[in-house]
Chain length 343, copies 2
DNA sequence: CTGAAAGCGCTTACAG
DNA sequence: CTGAAAGCGCTTACAG
C-alpha cells in the first residue's frame, strides 16, 4: 500500500502538506496542490482511513442496530414479521453510504449476545447510531439514550441530550383504518394489533379503539386478538376466531405480513374476501398489492422514515445539535380486500 | 475514554504488558495478569479498536457487497425481487458478527456509485468480503477476483487465488421442477426463468430445458418468457401470455416473488390453480406457504448458503488457504399450487 | 504557504 | 516474564 510519505516524496513536499491538500485546506498554493494531485494519481494513493480515524479522533462510520425482543426468533432467520424493517434497513444503508459514511454492524460478544453494547460502539469509535427498536424493554435503548453517542431511534420514542426519533403516526393510522371500515358499514371488527408490548402495536390498537369510540362504539374485548407479529401467529389467531364465532365482518391486522396469514386462514375456510369478510393491514409492503386479493392497507412511508432518520443523525454528528423528533403521517391505500359490510 | 496507559499506571506495569495480558500472550505471570484484569475492570477499559487495527496492520471487519445490474432499481427501494437476498444478508450478518467480526457496508463515491471499489475497501483495511453478485457483468467482480482480498461470492462463480464461491445447484433445481411437472402429466409448460443474463436465471432455464430433454421433449420457444426478476415483470409476462394463448397447463417461475406475480395474473383471469394451471417457483421464501394457493417451489437453503460462505471466508482470512467452492443441492417443496395436468 | 514535531492508542520485535 | 523504543499512517497546532 502506498502511503502519504511516498506521495510527499514524489511531490517534493512534506506529509503535512499532502494531508492539507487532501483535506481541502485553503492554506496550500495552487501550484503545489497540483503537484500533489499528480503524485497521488500516478501512485494510486488512497489514504488509510483507519489511520485517519485514529489521528482525527473521530470517524465517519455509523452503526446500525435492530433491537427485537425475541432472541430466539432472531436465530431462526425466518423473520417474516420483519420484512418491513428489511426494507428500512435497505433504505438506511443507501442513505448512509451515499452521504459518505460507512455503515457498520458491530460484532457480538462470545456468547452471541451484544455484551456491553455501548462500549463496543465506543471502542470502535462510531460517530453515531441508527437504532430500529421494536422491543421497548431492551436495555440498550436506555444505554444509548443516556450516552453522548448521537442516536436516532426508529419506531421507538427514545429521546435524550443526544438522541431523537422518527416514527409513523400509528395512532392516526389506527383511527383511519377504523373510520374507513365503519364508513363501509362494518360494526363487528376483529382487531389483531400484533404485539402490544411494542410501541407500534400498542399505538395501532389504541388508534383503532379511538376510531371506534369516535363513532360511539366500543371494541368488543373478545374481538381483540393479541399475538406476535408473525404471519403464522395471525394465521392461527384467525383460525381460532373462526372456530369460535363468525359474526365479525372485518379484520384489522397489525401488519401486512399478519394480514397475509389472515387471508390464508380465510381462504382455507372458503370465506370470500371482501364479500364476507374485509381485511385491512398496516405497512403497505411492496408485495401487498400482489396478495389475493390485493390488500387494502395503511401505508408507512419507509423512505421518508429512513431518509429523515439518517439526515437527523448526520445533523447531530456534524452540527452538534439534536433535531426534534418526527412523526410521519400514514396513508390509507384502498385495494380489493375491503368492501361494504354484508347485509 | 480510558486508555491502556491508565490501566498500566494503575496496575503498575507498562503498556506493553497490558497489551500482552489482553491478547492472551503466554508471557505474562499469573499474578500481574490478575492485577491488570482488576485495573481494567475498575477503570472500565475497552481497547480502542481503531488503534489496534492500525498497529496490527489488520482488522476483523468484513465488507458486504450486493452487486446488481440495475442502478436505477437499486434507488427505488422497491426491490421485491431481492427478498431472497435480504434473508441471506440477514443470515450473513448473524454469522459474521457472531464470529466476532464487524460487518461493513462501505461508503459510496460522491456520485452515488461505488467509485474505485477495491481501493475503498483497501483504504479501510477490511479483512475480506462477502459478495452477492447477481449481475455477472459488474466490473467489481473481476477486480475482487484479481485482488488479494479474500472474497467469497454468493450466486456467482468468481474464483481466484483468494476467491471462491457458494451457490445453489440451479441446474439440478430446474431439472427437478420439470421432472415433477412432467410426472404430473404436464407437457405444455411455460418457463419464466427471470433474467437470463444472471447466472441463476441462465442455469434455471438450462436446467428446465434439460429436464424436458430427458423426457424427449423440447421447450417451445414461444413458451419461454424472459423478463426481469420482479413480481411485476412476471405479472405482465403472464398477462401477455394469457392474451396470446391458453394452451399451457403449467408455469415455472424463476423465483417465488415472480410466482406471486404469476398467481396474481391468473387470479385476475379467473383461472383456477392448480386445476387449470399449475405454478411452481424457486427459492422457498418464508411467505411462499402463505400465498394463495400455497406455493410449490424448489427450495434454496439460504442458511447453509450464508453460513458456509462466512465460514469459508473466515478460513481464508485466518488460515490463509482458499477453500473449494460449494454447490448446494436444492429441494422440491410440494404445496398446493401444482396438481395433475387437466385432461 | 509550508515543515518539523508531537500525538492518536495501540502492538511487537528486541533486550534483558 | 517485562520494559523501552520504534512503528502503524495519518493530522494538527506551532513556528516561521
Amino acid at each position: 500500500m502506498v502511503t502519504s510519505e511516498q506521495v510527499a516524496k514524489l511531490a517534493g513536499v512534506s506529509r503535512a502538506t499532502v494531508s492539507r491538500a487532501l483535506n481541502g485546506s485553503a492554506n496550500v498554493s495552487e501550484e503545489t496542490r497540483q503537484r500533489i494531485l499528480e503524485a497521488i494519481a500516478s501512485l494510486g494513493y488512497e489514504p488509510n482511513v483507519v489511520a485517519q480515524n485514529l489521528a482525527r479522533q473521530r470517524s465517519r462510520v455509523i452503526a446500525f442496530a435492530l433491537f427485537t425482543d425475541d432472541q430466539r426468533k432472531l436465530m431462526e432467520f425466518e423473520q417474516t414479521q420483519h420484512y418491513f424493517y428489511l426494507g428500512v434497513i435497505n433504505a438506511v444503508e443507501h442513505a448512509i453510504t451515499s452521504a459518505g459514511y460507512d455503515l457498520f454492524f458491530p460484532a457480538r460478544a462470545e456468547d452471541g449476545s451484544y455484551g456491553n453494547y455501548l462500549r463496543t460502539l465506543q471502542s470502535r469509535r462510531v460517530a453515531g447510531v441508527i437504532a430500529i427498536s421494536i422491543a421497548q424493554s431492551d436495555p440498550r435503548i436506555q444505554a444509548l439514550v443516556n450516552s453522548n453517542l448521537p442516536t436516532v431511534f426508529i419506531d421507538n420514542m427514545g429521546q435524550g441530550k443526544r438522541a431523537t426519533y422518527v416514527k409513523s403516526d400509528n395512532l392516526h393510522g389506527g383511527r383511519m383504518a377504523m373510520e374507513y371500515l365503519l364508513q363501509l358499514g362494518h360494526r363487528r371488527i376483529a382487531i389483531m394489533p400484533g404485539n402490544t408490548a411494542d410501541l407500534s402495536g400498542a399505538e395501532r390498537l389504541l388508534g383503532c379503539q379511538q376510531g371506534l369510540a369516535k363513532a360511539g362504539l366500543v371494541a368488543d374485548p373478545d374481538l381483540i386478538c393479541v399475538s406476535d407479529w408473525t404471519t403464522e401467529d395471525a394465521y392461527h389467531a384467525t383460525i381460532k376466531l373462526l372456530k369460535q364465532r363468525r359474526d365479525f365482518t372485518a379484520i384489522a391486522a397489525g401488519s401486512d405480513m399478519m394480514a397475509m396469514g389472515v387471508l390464508r386462514a380465510l381462504h382455507e375456510y372458503g370465506i370470500r374476501i371482501p364479500e364476507e369478510v374485509s381485511v385491512i393491514g398496516f405497512d403497505d409492503l411492496d408485495i401487498s398489492r400482489f396478495m389475493e386479493p390485493p390488500l387494502t392497507t395503511v401505508r408507512q412511508d419507509r423512505l421518508v422514515m429512513s431518509q429523515s432518520a439518517v439526515q437527523k443523525l448526520i445533523t447531530m454528528i456534524e452540527e452538534g445539535e439534536t433535531p426534534a423528533s418526527l412523526t410521519i403521517p400514514m396513508q390509507l391505500v384502498v385495494r380489493a380486500s375491503t368492501g361494504p359490510a354484508p347485509a
